[in-house]
């Protein structure tokens, strides 16, 4: 098991709990729309009040993502942004910020070509804290979990409205850091968030695990972030941020500041 000393994620959630605060987690795709802005964007997100950074590793076939994040992957891949490039960005970020937890989020194939052990070693060395692989299932996870554990990385798993109680138990038994609850049956960027339903499912999950629970998919503004934070331990916002990237492809230098403005509003709403 991880301790505060070796898990930034665990430490972050414990500190927030002591302060009686909820976490704000952001997602942006690395290299979107150009690799030059990513590290600055991450710093600005933290300046705007983000507690945990999810960094999307671009993939050619992101089947669990809606159009907004698909296009973000396509823009990043126009610059051939690879998993190694993303780890390089994490290293750069870490030279100025050694506190904020970083979670890589993506699909398995870019990890497959490196190999689980080598990937985990490289990710840890770069300053990554946790990994979400959308298409890694508990069924196939033995070798993968072992590689992450050896390198003291938190395996973060998704639980969805369709996950049975038995699966929730299984997933919780191998997860660390936090649990990512997907609020809707749908791909990222869906807009049918139902806070009451989410709250009911969170009650079931809480009976099974003490891990903090972040809720994502469908949080688009300060209001929905605050509503989710009232029932979960963290609100996770992705497509709403990535839309800012899409709207500013002609002037990417604008993006970090605009991201900061959006998360500032969410931070304020969550804390009030």
């Amino acid at each position: 098991m991880s301790t505060i000393a070796d898990s930034r994620i665990k430490g972050c959630f414990e500190k927030l709990r002591q302060q009686g605060k909820k976490a704000l987690i952001s997602y942006i795709t690395a290299g979107d729309p150009t690799p030059e802005i990513t590290v600055e964007a991450l710093h600005e997100l933290v300046a705007g009040g983000v507690d945990v950074l999810e960094i999307g590793v671009p993939f050619s076939d992101p089947v669990a993502d809606g159009e907004v994040i698909q296009r973000a992957c396509e823009r990043a891949l126009e610059h051939n942004v690879s998993l190694s490039d993303v780890l390089e960005m994490v290293k750069q970020f870490r030279s100025k910020d050694d506190i904020t937890p970083i979670v890589l989020m993506g699909y398995l194939n870019p990890i497959e070509v490196i190999g689980y052990q080598d990937f985990a070693k490289l990710a840890k060395a770069a300053g990554v804290d946790g990994v979400i692989s959308v298409d890694m299932t508990p069924e196939e996870s033995e070798e993968y979990n072992a590689a992450l554990a050896t390198n003291k990385l938190d395996p973060i798993y998704l639980i969805t409205p369709t996950s049975s109680k038995q699966r929730v138990e299984w997933i919780a038994s191998m997860a660390s850091g936090f649990i990512y609850y997907v609020s809707v049956k749908g791909v990222t960027g869906s807009s049918k968030l139902d806070v009451k339903q989410v709250s009911e499912k969170l009650d079931i999950i809480r009976e099974i695990t003490d891990l903090p629970i972040g809720v994502g998919f469908g949080i688009k503004d300060a209001e929905s972030a605050a509503m989710i934070a009232s029932v979960a331990d963290a609100a996770i916002v992705g497509s709403a941020l990535v839309k800012i990237h899409a709207q500013n492809v002609d002037d990417p230098a604008q993006i970090p500041g605009k991201l900061k403005d959006l998360v500032l509003g969410m931070r304020t709403a969550i804390d009030s």
């Binding site: 992101p62 089947v63 159009e67 196939e140």
Partner: protein, 414 residues
């Protein structure tokens, strides 16, 4: 966990019927790699599949449809003139082109649509490349009165206008996919996204022997009727098993359907023919099993050989035949390759076109461009064998749908 890799296994020790294991693994290949939202329906499907395959009512209904709706058994035809022309082994064509809808795809869609019916699902979705699987799905959806949505790449819609219209006539909605390379893999992505979003009432009729478990085993079992019939027909007509069997491989459903019943007949040589496109040495092909720089990867729910770059991005493929234009391959083929039970080769666009013309001229049978890849390899293989030997080749579909492509290639405007 120490899974013994396929390459380290002794071929003689393997009992092929024992695979996949309960989790859908063919040694290191296969398995279930899916977004969590889809794990519940995939597990539900797995349970239903293994239950109904033991249900005499289900089997009876399926057999009846295969006989009277599809028109099975399909003939095993001795291609006498073509055999004489090549001057080697006797060539037999397994005529899947004579099935209702003109290809092998319907063997699988009948099975999956029946499962959907037994599971109470009223909406079916499918991906399609050449349009054959889309047509076969739209057909059975009409037959069972189900709502049907077919995802098809924009590029393939252009190449296969007639099949698009056929699907619409059958009452299906055809959705044009404009992401990525706008071909089969992107159609798969979009169908998976639909399934994630409409998981409660929707059954995904997957067209090939790939995807998460149970799809590779299930599609294989539905298509294995090809091999079972061919095996029996050879024994009837020739009094012996063939010396070699040949089929084209995109995702590989007609191939695994032909191969599987012959796997334990160790003396029968097995050849899968991939699409070499502009040449296996170029970047423009669709041959993950044959290419030298191929890698194991995870795509569309399964671990298998996948065409990807050094960063793990799936690469775009090329083939003259839309049905073979796919960067992955069913996991059982990866396993048959690495265990050495089957040999995989590739035929170029030009070789496939030659095969198309040869069969049309010598036998009056116009093969689909997909099947023409298998024909192209038989053209090389038969002359190396003796006249008392025999080859069964799967003629997986008919070529009418490809006439425009063939004409355009030859600069003819229709």
């Amino acid at each position: 966990m120490s899974v013994k890799k396929s390459k380290e296994m002794q071929l003689s020790d393997i009992v092929f019927n024992d695979y996949p294991d309960a989790g859908g693994h063919f040694a290191e290949f296969g398995g279930m790699y899916m977004a969590e939202t889809l794990m519940d329906p995939v597990l539900e499907l797995k349970e239903a599949y293994y239950k109904y395959m033991k249900d005499p009512e289900f089997i009876k209904e399926m057999d009846r449809d295969l006989a009277y709706y599809v028109g099975r058994p399909s003939p095993l035809y001795f291609a006498e003139r073509w055999t004489q022309e090549l001057g080697g082994a006797k060539i037999f064509l397994k005529r899947e082109d004579l099935n209702h809808t003109g290809a092998h795809k319907v063997n699988n869609t009948i099975g999956q649509a029946l499962l959907a019916k037994y599971m109470g699902k009223k909406r079916v979705i499918a991906e399609t490349g050449a349009g054959q699987h889309g047509v076969a799905t739209a057909t059975v959806a009409a037959r069972f009165g189900m709502k049907c949505v077919v995802y098809m790449g924009e590029e393939d819609i252009r190449r296969q206008a007639i099949n698009v219209y056929r699907m619409k006539l059958l009452g299906a909605k055809v959705v044009s996919v404009t992401s990525g390379s706008r071909t089969l893999k992107d159609a798969c992505n979009e169908a998976i996204r639909d399934w994630i979003t409409n998981v409660d009432d929707t059954f995904y009729i997957f067209g090939t022997a790939s995807g998460p478990h149970p799809y590779p085993a299930m599609v294989r079992d539905f298509q294995a009727i090809i091999g079972r019939e061919a095996r029996e027909q050879m024994l009837d007509q020739e009094g012996a098993l063939p010396d070699a069997i040949v089929a084209c491989v995109g995702g590989g459903s007609n191939a695994i359907g032909l191969f599987h019943p012959f796997l334990e007949d160790r003396e029968v040589k097995i050849y899968g023919v991939e699409a070499a496109g502009h040449g296996i040495e170029t970047d423009e092909h669709a041959a993950p099993l044959t290419a030298e720089d191929t890698k194991t990867g995870v795509l569309h729910g399964t671990k298998t050989y996948v065409m990807s770059d050094d960063n793990g991005q799936i690469t775009e493929t090329h083939s003259i035949s839309a049905g073979l234009d796919y960067p992955g391959v069913g996991p059982e083929h990866s396993w048959l390759k690495d265990t050495g039970r089957a040999e995989y080769v590739a035929a170029t666009d030009i070789e496939a076109l030659e095969g198309f013309h040869d069969l049309t001229r010598y036998e009056g049978i116009m093969p689909a461009l997909e099947s023409s890849h298998a024909i192209a390899y038989v053209k090389k293989l038969a002359p190396t064998m003796s006249k008392d030997q025999s080859i069964v080749v799967c003629l997986s579909g008919r070529g009418d749908k490809d006439i425009h492509t063939v004409a355009a290639w030859e600069g003819i405007e229709l």
